[in-house]
Amino acid sequence: MAYSGDKEKETPSQTAGPYVHIGLASSAAGFEIYDKTFGQDIAGPHAEGERIRVHGQVTDGDGAALTDVMIELWQANAQGRYAHPAGGGPVEPGFRGWGRAMSDFDTGEWVFDTVKPGAVDGQAPHISFWLVARGINIGLHTRMYFSDDAALHAQDPIMASIEPALRRATLIATRSDEDTVPIYRFDIRLQGHGETVFFDV
């Protein structure tokens, strides 16, 4: 191979700033430009498994909801496979397992619709989150687990590695069955009491 093998350092990160929508979700910025906007349809029409809605807020150290945060999410399908060449096998046509959620400019609420993922590689079902916003210098990685999988959480190697154990609860979304689709609430706290666990992946 012609590669030098020399270690070049990773390009430094910079904040996504307040206008991230222009580049990554232009309709939120107030205009349409591309024929196909990425990140809106996560599971596609043919995905098997339980259709769910996930919503929440991201709050700062003052308890204020961020109104300019962008969340990217990445998840397996109901069989625990990722839509990737090394993802564990084929997935349903149209299943990407990736999407973007933008917080509302007034309330800070974000929401997305998907299917509940299956267990992956010995881990409990989870959705990986990546957060960027003004004032966040480098994207924050976290995970969302599901409150109805409590028995599986005890076996999950990532969950088990978190100490003190009381912080594990920051990764668990709470299920509600009061609507036509199950709704999970997942609030993320950047700082202060109940600070969400963020990962160095």
Partner: protein, 242 residues
């Protein structure tokens, strides 16, 4: 397909810390507790895959992708090009690169931007492309203008373009900003100065590339991007507690 090799750990001393007092907004938005180390699993080693068939023919051309027929945006026409590789020097091929920027006057096409510089009806301010087999990308655009922002005190942002890059797995995900060689505002910018060392800050500056300018209708700037590399071998059997 076997499990891909783990990504090498991110050098947190090289990257900006969460809290940079110079940037007021980071104070309440920075986690205070230590990041929890997470050995890569399939969830971090994989990430979304995009295809050329999903990208429009002019998505990479900001001179055309929002302009009215026969018109084009105002400003200095530039070609921003470069190569995306990983820390091992390998090209990051077929990877999505998205960018966004202000217009030549420093105004963004965004409902929340109220800076008095005028909007440009022929400029959207965003583009996207996939890298080629050698990791190369190219955008046509105009050089953005500087604009003021309210920090602890009023500051000017140097002219910059935001870039978002994927790589092969979510652990490589990166958003950065590219500045332009010779701009005296770069050294004064609290956001640039979030990067701890000068070598790192220099890496965010696109270099003037007159040789690549070719035809006399644009100036070229080169901006190479490096994503995290991979360990040399898959690491399936890990010591306890790692």
């Amino acid at each position: 397909m076997p499990k891909p090799c783990d990504f090498t750990p991110r050098d947190r001393a090289w990257q900006p810390p969460a809290l940079t007092l110079e940037n007021r907004t980071s104070v309440a938005r920075s986690p205070r507790l230590a990041l929890h180390p997470l050995q890569n699993t399939l969830s971090e080693l994989t990430g979304p895959v995009f295809h050329n068939s999903e990208i429009g023919a002019h998505d990479h051309d900001l001179l055309r992708n929002f302009a009215r027929p026969g018109e084009s945006p105002i400003g200095e026409r530039i070609n921003l090009h470069g190569r995306v590789s990983d820390e091992n020097g390998r090209p990051v091929a077929h990877s999505l690169v998205e960018l966004w920027q202000a217009n030549a006057g420093g105004r963004y096409r965004h409902v929340n931007d109220s800076y008095l510089a005028p909007g440009d009806p022929n400029f959207g301010g965003c583009g996207r492309t996939l890298t080629d087999a050698d990791g190369r990308y190219c955008f046509h655009t105009v050089k953005p203008g500087a604009y003021p922002w309210q920090n602890w005190a009023p500051h000017w942002r140097p002219a910059h373009i935001h870039l978002s890059v994927f790589g092969a797995g979510m652990a490589q995900r990166l958003i950065t900003q590219c500045y332009f060689e010779g701009d005296p505002l770069i050294a004064k910018c609290p956001i640039v100065n979030a990067v701890p060392c000068q070598t790192g800050r220099d890496r965010l500056v696109a270099s003037l590339d007159l040789e690549a300018s070719g035809s006399f209708d644009h100036i070229a700037y080169r901006f190479d991007i490096v994503l995290r590399g991979r360990a040399e071998t898959p690491f399936e059997n890990r010591p306890e507690g790692s």
